[in-house]
């Protein structure tokens, strides 16, 4: 028998070989064609998507500067902590990671545990905007535990910082966690500030490690554009301080104000108090609200009130609120009447205390009437019947023409968000819907609403020779290298009244601020023009809005100001008593800061401040002689022959009759004295008490009349100070400042 492979065996072997090759390899080959050629492109794209890590590089948000390049808002690099839950294999590791992160990042255990349990995911964010010191703690935690570097990761993140806290917060606004603006300038200029995110596309292995074959394309991030504001940090500070005091002193719900460059419409300061800290925008800081919050028991209601309070504190009331301007508006009526030649200089009006129009009687705030008065006196007295009369002369058409021309029927176009838009026949009367009654009340600023920015812009137009400007707050934009890429040029909207009319009205307003209802806005050495207003709130009886608007110096107006005190409830509530003193303080500090040359009246010159000479080292008789010659009062302490020390020191500004103390003994201690009570007094009384106590006084505010009274002293009574220390005393007048319609 042959042992050789039989024919049958060979036949069957061929069958097997063919079957193996055709079915076996055929199937594989078919699969290969399918996966590599037919669907290859699809798979290749999917592979690419997972291999390429597309990392976004956040463009750094632009900085916001004040006009002197002080940083008001800036982004800084912080960190974001994330975990890779797919790398957590053991329960005890999960618990430990959760515990550790909760402790360092101050988070709730359950929330983090839930995140750590998402084992299908490779990237779960735990906390954003982590500060550097906290991040270092996380790094330490990762280092201390083996294998945690695969579980916990840290990515760069950015955070917005506002170095001056509440400073101009309603103007600047704030950004959310996603680095986008939520309110204020941050919101309005969000796109400009944001810049363009960059991308890094790199090939990564499945563990996000680097591949040996370098593939990387980078698209650089373009840093956001920076804004330079017209806001001046110093003026803003003066305004903030004044408004904060007003809110406290008069127990008001809000105080808001604007300081504007008359010639350009640039906003130098804009503030609403109380406001918020944009670093912690969700924290309510208004003490009144906090108090009421504590009283609420119901959680739901508490939540709602808290949410309302947040929106309330973010609100820029100078832009978004509207109010009845009241008597301040009389300057507009006056300007219109003078422009239309409806009132002559020597015309005399008679106020009997009321005026009857149609079926209504309009009372003057002075019920027994102002008697005979000219137009300037009518404005000084804020006399309603006269303005009703003048309004009648203008008629509906002309009145509305000027109402529109001064910009009350349109938004000012200021570059800030949420400007209140006037609505025809809702917030104001249009000519065709304005009857004689509406005309009459509108003439003295009632029955319509304006926004604070509209009001100051109109008043500023009078100071600007009749040119109405478009107010603006961003003066220029800078690229990342601080190169200026655009500059805002002031824009004249229109000539509303002639220059002649404007200067006439300005003079009338100066009279108001010198001896009229706005005399508390008087600033020694500066010619202030202004008008006060007090309006009763329509929504709640017995609540008022006190306001003052004006500009200075009258002969060459530089800055305009508007101060509104919302719901003063300490007893006084008129614009003259409440808003004008605030305006005076802000104006005085601002004008001096801006180095605007003072123009003193002879009376003011008499009290003019003198600088102290250098006396140390000189002989006592010599020093006394010089001091006496300059008008100072001298007090010598000790029996030495030469001056060893002096209070006030060299080059300090003192009133002409101020006290200079000379020390001649080498005893180290100086002579102390207690500051006396210096408020609620006349100028003479203040002087007397100050000299008696051995302190110097500096006078601020309105001091020209006989009815002035001191209302604030810069050093509290009973404070122990060196003899000769300077105490600033603020004066105001409480008589003839009522303008309530």
């Amino acid at each position: 028998m042959s042992n050789k492979p039989s024919k049958q065996l060979i036949q069957r072997a061929v069958v097997i070989m063919v079957v193996t090759c055709i079915i076996g390899f055929g199937a594989g080959f078919f699969g290969l064609i399918n996966a590599q050629l037919i669907n290859g492109e699809k798979y290749r794209q999917k592979a690419e998507v997972q291999q390429l890590s597309d990392k976004t590089i956040n463009a750094e948000r632009g900085t916001i500067y004040d006009r002197n390049m002080n940083i008001l808002s800036q982004s800084a690099n912080v960190w974001k902590v994330y975990i890779n839950p797919s790398k957590i294999k053991k329960e005890e590791v999960k618990v430990d990671v959760t515990k550790g992160l909760c402790e360092i990042l101050e988070l709730e255990y359950d929330t983090v545990y839930k995140k750590a349990s998402q084992s299908k995911y490779g990237y779960v964010s735990i906390k954003t905007q982590v500060e550097n010191d906290v991040k270092l703690e996380v790094v330490e935690f990762i280092r201390a535990n083996k294998g945690y570097n695969e579980i916990i990761g840290i990515d760069p993140d950015t955070k917005r910082y506002y170095p001056y806290m509440t400073f101009a917060s309603t103007v600047l606004g704030f950004t959310g966690a996603d680095d986008t603006g939520r309110s204020g300038l941050e919101y309005f200029y969000d796109e400009t500030l944001t810049g363009v995110s960059g991308r890094i596309i790199t090939a990564k292995n499945a563990l996000q490690g680097d591949m040996p074959t370098k593939y990387e394309s980078t698209y650089d991030a373009k840093q956001g554009t920076s804004l330079v504001l017209t806001i001046d940090q110093v003026i803003q500070y003066y305004l903030d301080k004044g408004l904060e005091r007003a809110v406290t002193d008069f127990d008001a719900s809000y105080g808001y104000g604007i300081v504007m460059d008359v010639k350009t419409g640039a906003i130098l300061a804009m503030s609403t108090k109380p406001d918020f800290d944009p670093n912690e925008p969700y924290e309510v800081i208004n003490p009144k609200v906090l108090e009421s919050l504590e009283e609420i028991q119901d959680e739901e209601e508490k939540k709602k009130v808290l949410s309302d309070a947040r929106y309330a504190q973010w609100r820029n009331r100078t832009i978004s609120d509207t109010y009845e301007p009241g008597s301040v508006f009389k300057v507009v009526t006056a300007a219109a009447a003078i422009e239309e030649n409806l009132v002559s200089d020597d015309e005399m009006f008679n106020c009997a205390g009321n005026i009857k129009i149609a079926d209504r009687t309009y009372h003057c705030h002075k019920r027994d009437g102002h008697g005979t008065e000219n137009f300037t006196q009518a404005l000084m007295n804020s006399c309603n019947p006269v303005f009703v009369t003048v309004g009648q002369r203008l008629g509906v058409e002309k009145f509305f023409k000027y109402f529109e021309a001064f910009g009350f029927a349109e938004t000012t176009g200021v570059d800030l968000p949420a400007e209140a838009a006037p609505a025809a026949n809702v917030t104001y009367h249009t000519a065709n819907k304005m009857g004689i009654v509406e005309l009459s009340s509108s003439s003295f600023g009632q029955s319509f609403q304006v926004s604070p920015i509209q009001m100051i812009n109109a008043v500023s137009a009078i100071g600007n020779g009749g040119k109405l400007m478009r107010p603006y707050i961003v003066s220029s934009m800078l690229d990342e290298n601080k190169n200026t890429i655009s500059v805002t040029s002031p824009k004249v909207k229109r000539q509303v009244i002639s220059e002649k009319t404007a200067s006439k009205v300005s003079e009338m307003m100066e009279a108001v601020a010198t001896s009229g209802t706005a005399k508390n806005a008087y600033v020694a050495g500066y010619r202030v023009a202004g008008k006060t207003g007090t309006s009763q709130k329509l929504t709640s009886r017995g609540k008022y809005i006190a306001s003052f608007s004006g500009f200075a110096p009258t002969n060459d107006p530089q800055i305009a100001i508007l101060i509104v005190v919302d719901e003063p409830s300490s007893g006084v509530y008129t614009g003259g008593a409440v808003a004008a003193p605030v305006a005076a303080e802000v104006l005085e500090e601002t004008l001096k800061y801006l180095n605007i040359e003072p123009q003193y009246t002879p009376e003011e010159l008499a009290r003019l401040d003198v600088k102290t000479p250098k006396l140390i080292g000189r002989t006592v008789p010599d020093a006394v002689k010089e001091l006496k010659a300059k008008g100072f009062t001298v007090k010598t302490i000790g029996n030495g022959e030469t001056v060893l020390n002096q209070t006030p020191a060299y080059n300090q500004v003192l009133p002409k009759d101020g006290l200079v103390v000379l020390y001649t003994d080498d005893k180290k201690e100086t002579t102390k004295t207690k500051v006396p009570v210096l408020t609620g007094m006349s100028l003479a009384e203040v002087n007397r008490n100050a000299v008696a106590a051995g302190v110097n006084i500096k006078i601020s505010g309105f001091t020209s009349g006989s009815d002035i009274v001191s209302y604030r002293q810069s050093v509290a009574p009973d404070t122990e100070v060196e003899m000769g220390t300077m105490v600033t005393i603020s004066f105001k007048s409480n008589a003839g400042v009522s303008d309530l319609a």
Binding site: M1, N3, K4, P5, S6, Q8, L9, I10, R12, A13, V14, V15, I16, M17, T20, C21, G24, F25, A27, G28, F29, F30, G31, L32, I33, N34, A35, Q36, L37, N39, G40, E41, K42, Y43, R44, K46, A47, E48, Q50, Q51, K120, A203, N205, A206, L207, G209, M211, P212, T213
Partner: protein
């Protein structure tokens, strides 16, 4: 002594094989082995770096086994293949022993459900199923050769249980020798498949079964049985595909993952998807040697069962096709050696060995391209595994030994 020397050259040596081996077969083996080693290094270095701390970890080990294997191959090719019959009688019981032992000893950590490996300390691991495949091929080749005539004639069985039937004149049942042998072989194949299946090793079971059936087909059993067997396999496959839940969970997941391309993409389906992404990324001409991106930890364990996907990505459709053709050439040349073998045992053994390599390669490529469910089957000459490479090359040595006596032209 030159005299004795001459004598020995003239007279056929009792132990050593004579004549030249088949060079084309050796060349194909060496080409596949070389490409396999290069591709193993390329595919594994990132994985090795991340998991073993050194890029060449897998390559070095594989290279050592390949060199040792080549040495063993030449030694084995010098052995007269008749002596492999002795091995058949030893290897079959040893295979059973190992298949039972592997079920008893604890599996390596991380593979608690898979009793596939036996660890030899200081050497590595090996799969008893690999030994069993060789054992089965050797046993069947030896036994079929010995009983070929009995199987292929209508000769009554002399087996004890059959004699009773056959001697009883009244009995209508006559038991032929072919039936007894058929039942014996089916028992051997079936029991081995059962043991491997118990390892949770479906692919090993399928391979053993296919090898056994092929050997039986070559043995000359009636064709109708194979038609029946084919129908049976088709029905079982269809049943499994329609009811994957009837299988053990690890296998049913894989069938579900094959049927539903969106099944558990980060789990069961991950490896297949990543392999497809790799193949797709390769395109027609490939990314170039060493330039695979998918091997960077996307394709999990790219040095093992899914190494072909990296081959496709780096060498492209062209390279992959060349490798498939090389495997087909190996099968073809192996069968040529077998068909022209000096005797039936040589033919059966060579066919069994080459078929095993061919079938495994074909199944692996089908798995990697998602043509069939993922069964965990390695690619011969390419996939990492020292002992299995050593065995593979040794088996190729056996084929070379057979080729020395084949009636083919030798260069």
């Amino acid at each position: 002594m030159p005299k004795t020397k001459r004598k020995k050259q003239e007279k056929p040596n009792k132990y050593l094989a004579q004549g030249g081996f088949d060079v084309p077969f050796l060349i194909i083996v060496l080409i596949l082995l070389t490409i396999g080693l290069v591709m193993l290094f390329s595919a594994s270095y990132t994985y090795a770096y991340y998991n073993r701390g050194q890029s060449a970890f897998f390559f070095k080990r594989q290279l050592i086994f390949a060199i040792v294997g080549l040495f063993v191959m030449f030694v084995v090719s010098k052995i007269r293949y008749e002596y492999f019959k002795l091995l058949a009688t030893i290897l079959l019981p040893l295979s059973y022993l190992l298949l039972v032992v592997v079920l008893i000893i604890p599996p390596p950590p991380g593979y608690e459900n898979f009793h596939r490996w036996i660890t030899i300390p200081g050497f590595g691991t090996f799969q008893p199923s690999e030994v069993a495949k060789l054992g089965l091929i050797l046993f069947l080749a030896w036994s079929i050769d010995k009983n070929y005539k009995a199987i292929n004639s209508r000769q009554l069985s002399t087996a004890k249980f059959a004699v009773g039937f056959n001697q009883n004149k009244n009995s209508k049942i006559k038991i032929y020798s072919s039936t007894t042998y058929g039942l014996l072989y089916l028992f051997v194949i079936g029991s081995m498949c059962a043991l491997v299946y118990l390892e949770n090793h479906v692919s090993g079971t399928v391979l053993l079964f296919a090898l056994g059936v092929m050997m039986l087909f070559l043995a000359g059993f009636d064709k109708k049985w194979f038609v029946i067997a084919t129908v049976f396999v088709v029905v079982v496959s269809a049943f499994i595909i329609l009811n994957p839940d009837k299988l053990p969970s690890h296998a049913s997941y894989r069938i579900n993952a094959w049927l539903d391309k969106d099944f558990d993409p980060r789990g069961v389906r991950w490896q297949t998807n990543q392999a497809l992404y790799a193949i797709g990324s390769g395109g027609f001409f490939g990314a170039g040697l060493g330039n695979s991106k998918q091997k960077h930890l996307y394709v999990s364990e790219p040095q093992n069962d899914f190494i072909f996907s990296i081959v496709c990505e780096e060498l492209g459709f062209v390279g992959a096709t060349v490798i498939i053709i090389l495997f087909m050439l190996l099968v073809w040349r192996g069968f040529v050696i077998a068909m022209r073998a000096k005797d039936r045992f040589g033919a059966l053994l060579a066919m069994g060995l080459v078929f095993q390599v061919g079938l495994q390669a074909a199944l692996n490529i089908a798995v990697v391209t998602d043509t069939i469910p993922n069964t965990g089957i390695s690619l011969p000459f390419f996939s990492y595994g020292g002992t299995s490479l050593l065995m593979l090359i040794t088996e190729m040595g056996m084929v070379l030994s057979i080729s020395r006596y084949s009636r083919i032209s030798k260069s």
